[in-house]
C-alpha cells in the first residue's frame, strides 16, 4: 500500500524543475557539432569559406561548394536525423520493455532491413541486379527500398502479433526469433556469395551517413519527422508504463493502443535509419542512459527532447571523428560510436545511479 502511494506520487508530481540552462547547453552543443561536421572532413576547407558557401557566396575553390552542398550538408542533416531517431526510439523501447539493454532494433526491424539489403547485394548473381533494375521505379532508392521493405515487413508482423499477445516479453522473444531466422538466411546468402559482394554487404553493415543524397533526404526527413511526432505525443503514457503495465492500466491507460503507437513510432524511426544508413548500433542504447544520468530523471517529458538533442550531438561528433579530419581515410561509423563512446558512457553511468531507480521494480 505504501508502495502504491509512492508510485502515485511519482506519477502525478509536477514537472521537475526543467534545467533550462542544460537544454540551452545541449542546443549550443548541437550547433557546434553541426558546424564542426560541416567544416571538418578529408578535404581541408577553411571555416570562412564554409560560411561563404552556405550563404551563397563564391568560395576560393570551385569544388569546395560542391563538397559542402552535395556531400557534407546532406551527411550532416542525416547524422542529426539518425542520432535523434535512434535515441528516441531506444528510449521508448527501454521503457516499453522496462529493460535497460533494449535498443531500437530489439523487435527485429534491422534484421528485416539486413535481409532486404542482403538479398539485393548478395542475392542470386544478376538476379540481384535485375531486382535493382526492377526497383528502378523508385529511382535512386534501390538499397534503401529493399531495406525499407524488409524492415516494414517485420514491423507489420510485430504489430499484427502484438495485437494478440499480452506480455511485452512475448514480443521480445518474437523479435529475437525474427532476428535468428533472418540472420540465418543472410548467412546462407553470404555462404554462397563472392568475396567482393560480401565485402559490399559488410561495408553496409558498418553503417554510414555519407551514402544519403538529397533526393533520399526527401523521403527520409518526412518519415523520421512522422516517427518523432508520434513519439512526442507519448511522454505521459511512457511515464505511466515505467511504473508497470498493471499500474498503468489502473490509471486508465489503454495499454494495447499505447503499445501499438510506441512500436509503430519507434520501429518507423529505427527502420528508416537502418534502411538509409545501415545498422547503426550503440547510440540507441547509450544516449537514453546518458540523458537519464545527466538530467537525473526518468520523466519522459524531459528525456524526449534531451535525447533528441544529445543523440544528434553524439551522431555528429561520431561522424566528425569518422572522417579523420586532415587525413584521406575514413572510419566506419559503428567503430567510432562504440570505440570512443562506450568508455565515456560507462564513466557517466557509474557516477550516477539513476538507472537502478528507473528499471528496478
Amino acid at each position: 500500500m505504501a508502495e502504491e502511494v509512492e508510485k502515485n506520487k511519482t506519477l502525478t508530481r509536477p514537472l521537475p524543475p526543467i534545467r533550462w540552462w542544460m537544454f540551452s547547453l545541449l542546443f549550443l552543443g548541437v550547433l557546434i557539432a553541426f558546424t564542426a561536421s560541416l567544416a571538418l572532413g578529408s578535404v581541408d576547407i577553411p571555416l570562412n569559406n564554409v560560411f561563404r558557401i552556405l550563404t551563397g557566396q563564391i568560395a576560393d575553390k570551385g569544388t569546395w561548394a560542391d563538397i559542402i552542398l552535395i556531400f557534407r550538408l546532406p551527411k550532416t542533416i542525416t547524422a542529426i536525423l539518425v542520432g535523434a531517431a535512434l535515441s528516441v526510439s531506444g528510449l521508448q523501447m527501454q521503457t516499453l520493455f522496462r529493460n535497460p539493454l533494449a535498443d531500437p532494433f530489439i523487435l527485429g526491424v534491422n534484421s528485416g532491413a539486413s535481409l532486404g539489403v542482403a538479398l539485393v547485394i548478395l542475392g542470386f548473381g544478376t538476379t540481384g541486379s535485375l531486382l535493382l533494375a526492377g526497383l528502378g521505379l523508385f529511382g535512386d532508392l534501390s538499397l534503401a527500398v529493399a531495406a525499407s521493405l524488409g524492415a516494414g515487413a517485420v514491423l507489420l508482423l510485430v504489430l499484427l502479433i502484438g495485437r494478440r499477445v499480452r506480455s511485452p516479453i512475448t514480443l521480445l522473444i518474437l523479435g529475437l526469433m525474427f532476428g535468428y531466422a533472418t540472420s540465418a538466411i543472410v548467412s546462407l546468402l553470404i555462404y554462397f556469395s563472392l568475396p567482393e559482394r560480401i565485402q559490399t554487404y559488410t561495408t553496409w553493415s558498418f553503417g554510414s551517413f555519407g551514402g544519403v543524397t538529397w533526393s533520399q533526404l526527401w523521403v527520409m526527413v518526412p518519415v523520421i519527422l512522422t516517427g518523432l511526432g508520434i513519439s512526442y505525443f507519448l511522454p505521459k503514457s511512457l511515464n505511466a508504463l515505467l511504473l508497470g503495465e498493471e499500474y498503468a492500466r489502473t490509471m486508465g491507460l489503454n495499454i494495447k493502443r499505447t503499445r501499438f503507437w510506441i512500436i509503430l513510432g519507434a520501429s518507423l524511426l529505427a527502420g528508416t535509419v537502418t534502411a538509409f544508413c545501415g545498422p547503426i548500433g550503440f547510440i540507441g542504447v547509450a544516449v537514453p542512459h546518458l540523458c537519464r544520468s545527466l538530467f537525473n530523471t526518468s520523466d519522459h517529458r524531459v528525456l524526449l527532447p534531451a535525447v533528441t538533442m544529445m543523440g544528434a550531438i553524439i551522431a555528429l561528433l561520431a561522424d566528425v571523428i569518422a572522417q579523420l579530419p586532415g587525413t584521406q581515410y575514413i572510419l566506419p561509423i559503428n567503430v567510432v560510436t562504440s570505440l570512443f563512446g562506450a568508455p565515456f558512457i560507462v564513466w557517466v553511468i557509474i557516477r550516477q545511479r539513476r538507472m537502478k531507480s528507473t528499471f528496478a521494480d
Binding site: 563538397i67 548473381g125 535512386d140 555519407g210 543524397t213 584521406q328
Partner: protein, 407 residues
C-alpha cells in the same frame, strides 16, 4: 691438350644432336650417360638411372615474386614463398618424376608424382593456363561453376563430367568426402591465412594432395601471369609454358613501349563509392600498374601501397572531378545503373562526357567476369584494351576484349 678436349667435346655434342633428332631415350654404351631430350609429358620412366637429368626443360621465373623452382635430376622443388599475405613460412612441394624414387628427406613437404593426370581447381584463374596447355581433360573437379566464364568448364559441369566440391571463394565449405572419393593427383587452391575461410587446413588433415597457388598476391600483371609456369611444372610442360609466357610478356612489353613516348597522359580514377567509402587501388597495385603501363595518369600513382586505400567520397570527388576517364565501375552495366547507386556521380566530368569504361564485356549469366579469369593469364590483352581507351590513335584497329564503354 686443349685441342684434344675441344675435339672430344664437339664429338659429344654432335652425338647429342643426332640422338635428339631421333627423339629417343637411349643409353650410350661408353661412357654410361643417358640423354633425355625433353621432359616426360605422359606416363612414367621405365628404367630409372641415377645419372640422368629427367628435366631438361626448366622454368625460368623472371617476374613473379611469389614462387621458385629448383631442379634436381629426377625431382623438382616448388616453393611458394608467400602462400598468403603475412604468411610466416613458405610452402614447398616436391614434384617427383613418375617412375623414379622420391628423395628421402622431404621435411614434411607434399610429394607429388609428375606429370599429374588429374587436378581439382579452386580458383577460376587456373582455367586459362590449363586450357592453353591442352590439359582441360585432366580437370576432374572444381570448387564452383557459378562465376566461371570458361566455356569448357561450363560444358564439363553441365555434362556432369567434373565434380563440384566447394571450398573456393564462392562455393561454400569444401566437401572433403567428395574429394577423398575423387582422389585427384593435385588440388590447387588459394589461401587467405584465415582458417575459417581456407580449405587447405582441412584438406591437409584429410591427407589430400593440396597445393597453394598464390597468384593473386602478385602485384605486377606479368608476375601474375607467370604463375602459368607454376601450374605447368605439375605437367612437365615447362617448355610450353615458357613459350606461351614469353609471347605474352613480349607483347606486353611492346605495348608498354608504345605508350612510353605519349606526351599527353589522360587522368583516370577507378572504382565506385559505397555508403561514403571509396576504395581506390594503391599506387603499386596490379590495377594501378596496368593504368601506368597504358599511359594514363592515375591520381594515386605515387602511393606506395599495393592494396586498396579507403577514401571518402568527397576526397575522391575533390581529386577526380575533372578527370578524363572513369574505369572499373564494379557491377554497374550502364550509366543509369551507376546513377541508381548515387546521383552525385553526374558531377564527374568523365560521367558527363561518357568516358566511363568497365571490364564487364565478357560476363557470364551470374555476373562472373572473364577479366578476373582469363585476364590474369593475358595481361597483354587487358593492356591493349586500356591503351585503346586512353590512346585510341596508337591501336586504331583494336577490338575490345574485356572492356566496354558504359552507355
Amino acid at each position: 691438350m686443349r685441342k684434344t678436349l675441344t675435339i672430344l667435346l664437339s664429338i659429344t655434342i654432335t652425338l647429342g644432336i643426332l640422338l635428339s633428332a631421333c627423339q629417343t631415350t637411349t643409353a650410350i654404351e661408353e661412357p654410361a650417360i643417358t640423354v633425355v631430350v625433353s621432359n616426360v609429358q605422359s606416363g612414367c620412366v621405365a628404367d630409372y638411372e641415377v645419372a640422368v637429368d629427367y628435366f631438361p626443360n626448366k622454368a625460368q621465373v623472371e617476374y613473379a615474386q611469389g614462387f621458385r623452382i629448383e631442379y634436381y635430376s629426377n625431382y623438382k622443388v616448388l616453393t611458394v614463398l608467400q602462400p598468403w599475405s603475412g604468411a610466416e613460412e613458405p610452402f614447398s612441394y616436391v614434384l617427383v618424376q613418375c617412375g623414379t624414387p622420391a628423395p628421402e628427406n622431404t621435411d614434411g613437404a607434399l610429394v607429388v608424382e609428375v606429370p599429374i593426370q588429374s587436378i581439382v581447381t579452386m580458383s577460376t584463374t587456373y582455367y586459362p593456363h590449363l586450357e592453353s596447355f591442352g590439359k582441360m581433360d585432366t580437370l576432374v573437379g572444381v570448387d564452383d561453376t557459378t562465376y566461371a566464364y570458361n566455356e569448357t568448364v561450363q560444358a564439363l559441369a553441365s555434362e556432369e563430367k567434373i565434380a563440384i566440391v566447394g571450398g573456393g571463394a564462392g562455393g561454400g565449405a569444401v566437401n572433403v568426402e567428395a574429394l577423398l572419393d575423387l582422389g585427384p593427383d593435385v588440388i590447387m587452391t588459394s589461401a587467405s591465412g584465415i582458417p575459417d575461410y581456407d580449405s587447405h587446413p582441412k584438406l591437409i588433415e584429410a591427407g589430400l594432395p593440396v597445393v597453394i597457388n598464390a597468384d593473386y598476391l602478385e602485384n605486377t600483371p606479368l608476375g601474375r601471369a607467370e604463375w602459368g609456369k607454376f601450374i605447368a611444372a605439375f605437367y612437365n610442360l615447362e617448355a610450353e609454358a615458357e613459350t606461351l609466357f614469353t609471347e605474352v610478356a613480349s607483347r606486353y612489353e611492346a605495348l608498354t613501349a608504345l605508350t612510353d613516348s605519349v606526351s599527353e597522359k589522360p587522368s583516370v580514377f577507378t572504382n565506385t563509392d559505397f555508403q561514403g567509402s571509396w576504395y581506390v587501388p594503391g599506387g603499386q597495385s596490379y590495377a594501378a600498374l596496368l593504368l601506368k603501363d597504358a599511359g594514363a595518369a592515375y591520381f594515386w600513382a605515387d602511393d606506395s601501397g599495393t592494396g586498396s586505400i579507403p577514401l571518402s567520397f568527397e576526397e575522391v570527388f575533390d581529386t577526380a572531378k575533372e578527370a578524363d576517364f572513369w574505369l572499373n565501375v564494379g557491377f554497374a552495366s550502364d550509366l543509369s545503373g551507376l546513377l541508381a547507386m548515387d546521383e552525385r556521380y553526374t558531377e564527374f566530368k568523365a560521367f558527363q562526357t561518357g568516358n566511363v569504361f568497365n571490364y564487364n564485356k565478357r560476363v557470364n549469366m551470374n555476373g562472373g567476369m572473364d577479366y578476373f579469369e582469363s585476364g590474369v593469364a593475358n595481361p597483354d590483352l587487358i593492356l591493349a584494351d586500356l591503351i585503346a581507351i586512353f590512346h585510341p590513335e596508337l591501336l586504331p584497329e583494336h577490338e575490345f576484349v574485356y572492356y566496354q564503354q558504359i552507355q
